[in-house]
């Protein structure tokens, strides 16, 4: 009985989410459509981060590197080559995936704080390369005026384009979390020692997960390049890598869509706050401190406890 009630409730939430994602752009203005697009892209980025954090139990402070690589790959391909648009969306996934594989090979040999710091160091490496390689990447200025297919120049269609891709990505990630690979990740998170003893090559599995997360981060960057029409080295900086972490913690890492909830809260807050003040870091910093101190488990987690205290 309880199981049925749970499935019904999940189905209800799912329908709500689907309705909320399809309907609004038809009734709201262009500005808000762009806000929704940004929520989707960053939400997917955060959920990809959560593959490493919530599912596997490690903190990567450098996911921005793969996001940036995806963004720059798309940007460079669209501005400097005349390759077909779909290729410009697929190549970044490969690039960021390969990079995640190479960096990850070294990163997954460590855990905890060392994992975090090495992931941070590799990201700063990528950042400094993008920043300094003026001739190729535009350095400090980034790349502006990224062309996209005519249809997508309209924020309305770009939103649905993004929605389709993000939804597909989320479905894939959802299946991954429910698969035996996903459970192996949970096993590694809970007890990597025992996982080795039951016959799993822990490092190899961690590396594969890291590469997967990197690929989805790259996809996010790619979508961003198309949406924003410009990219900057900041995308690879550790301060940007903090964004998916914030979102995941705000929304709650134990729930698949938690980071998306975090993205909604973070992005809407950003949109409402920044017109009034330039002190966004102050606001978000205070919020983060507040949430860490008083809302362990994120917003979704705290709400869940209130609805069904156990």
């Amino acid at each position: 009985m309880e199981d049925k009630a749970r499935t019904l409730r999940s189905r209800w939430w799912l329908s709500l989410i689907i309705a909320l994602s399809i309907v609004p752009p038809m009734v709201i203005g262009s500005f808000w459509i762009q806000v929704l697009t940004e929520i989707l892209i960053l939400g997917m980025f955060a959920i990809s981060f959560n593959l490493i954090f919530g599912l596997m139990g490690q903190i990567s402070f450098g996911q921005g590197a793969y996001y940036a690589l995806g963004a720059y790959t798309t940007a460079l391909m669209l501005t400097k080559t005349s390759m077909a648009f779909p290729l410009c969306m697929v190549a970044p996934i490969v690039v960021s995936g390969i990079c995640a594989l190479i960096f990850g090979f070294f990163i997954v040999r460590l855990t905890g704080i060392y994992f975090a710091i090495l992931s941070l160091a590799f990201a700063q490496l990528v950042h400094s390369v993008i920043f300094q390689w003026y001739d190729f990447t535009g350095g400090d200025n980034g790349i502006q005026g990224i062309p996209s297919p005519i249809l997508l120049k309209n924020p309305f269609w770009n939103y649905y384009f993004t929605l389709v891709i993000v939804s597909a990505a989320l479905i894939v990630m959802w299946f991954i979390t429910k698969s035996s690979f996903g459970y192996t990740m949970r096993a590694i998170r809970d007890n990597s020692n025992r996982t080795g003893f039951v016959g799993v090559n822990v490092r190899k599995h961690m590396l594969i997960n890291f590469a997967i997360a990197g690929m989805f981060a790259g996809l996010g960057g790619s979508l961003w390049a198309v949406f924003n029409h410009s990219v900057s080295p900041d995308l690879a900086n550790w301060t940007h890598s903090g964004v998916p972490i914030f979102m995941t913690i705000i929304g709650g890492p134990s729930y698949f869509l938690g980071p998306l909830v975090g993205s909604i809260i973070y992005t809407l807050l950003f949109v409402f706050v920044t017109p009034f003040t330039e002190y966004w870091p102050l606001i978000i910093g205070t919020l983060i401190i507040f949430i860490v101190l008083f809302f362990s488990g994120g917003i979704v987690g705290t709400l869940e406890l209130k609805i069904r205290p156990e």
């Binding site: 070294f106 910093g285 205070t286 101190l293």
Partner: protein, 294 residues
């Protein structure tokens, strides 16, 4: 490349390294004793620099202003550090790693913006006191006297810390608590006071470095986010639990930076990260860290 140019670069690298050491020593202490990686530590440094500027502005005495401003700013920061430890940091000692990282990260954001709010984004400059504003000749190379003072201060702090942790009761208690927190509590030693003491001391030294930094180069909003990453590199290279490692790591980073700026200026940071990454791959616990900590 003349010999004196090389020596000049070495000395410049050392003085930069010394500032890094002052900041990193606190970072290392907080990590060793409380197991917290303090993202906000360079922000304390920068805040100390700005406070020094403000005090100097108020006092406005070309000869003595700085000598008074720096200690004043450092003590003010020590007080602020104490408040932060009691109200914020103390609450996350028992929490998982992410929450600790996020707390100090949030703190870094807040302090960074407080600086922007209070002092704006314009560069601030504090002139060097007349007494130490000249040039000296070290082994034939010209070195600003002030830089030499920074180097000497760094050495003094290093010696002071060594004395504190190996020759005093407080230091012994701190080292014992690093070894076993439970045992120390059980023996009746007030753990919270030790942690607060370590935190306040670390902030004080960082602020001191900030004060020393002010006349070295102009100070700007945002310097803290680049410096904190350099400090992480220092800790990786030197080893996470080791003050000696912090010293060696800082000098290494300072020297890499100084020489890179000369030959391949655009690759300076890149080189530092490469060295950091190599160390993390080959010897994750750093030059002086203990392998068990991985």
């Amino acid at each position: 490349m003349t010999a004196s140019q090389i020596i000049g670069q070495i000395l410049s690298g050392i003085s930069r390294g010394m500032i890094l050491f002052l900041i990193s020593s606190g970072l290392t202490l907080i990590f060793s004793v409380m197991n917290i990686l303090n993202f906000a530590h360079a922000s304390f440094w920068l805040l100390g620099a700005y406070l020094t500027w403000t005090f100097w502005q108020i006092l406005y005495s070309p000869n003595f202003g700085l000598w008074i401003s720096i200690p004043l700013a450092s003590l003010t920061m020590a007080a602020i550090g104490w408040i932060i430890e009691v109200w914020l940091v103390r609450r996350v000692y028992e929490r998982p790693l992410t929450e600790q990282l996020l707390l100090t990260y949030g703190l870094a954001l807040v302090i960074g913006d407080v600086i922007k709010l209070t002092w704006g984004v314009a560069d601030r400059i504090v002139p060097k006191p007349k007494v130490v504003s000249g040039l000296m000749s070290i082994f034939g190379a010209p070195l600003p006297t002030y830089n030499l003072m920074v180097i000497i201060l760094g050495v003094l702090v290093a010696l002071g810390l060594w004395w504190l942790f190996y020759k005093t009761m407080f230091g012994r208690k701190v080292r014992a608590s690093v070894f076993s927190r439970e045992m120390i509590s059980a023996l009746g030693v007030p753990i919270h006071r030790i942690y607060a003491g370590v935190f306040v001391l670390s902030v004080f030294i960082a602020a001191l470095a900030g004060g020393m930094q002010a006349p070295l180069s102009s100070i700007t909003y945002g310097m803290d986010s680049t410096v904190i990453v350099e400090c992480f590199c220092v800790m990786v290279i030197g080893g996470f639990g080791s003050l000696l490692g912090a010293l060696v790591g800082s000098l290494t980073v300072g020297l890499i930076y100084a020489f890179a700026i000369m030959f391949v200026p655009r690759m300076a940071l890149f080189l530092i990260f490469i060295v950091t990454i190599i160390i993390l791959i080959v010897r994750p616990w750093g030059l002086f860290g203990t392998p068990m900590r991985v």
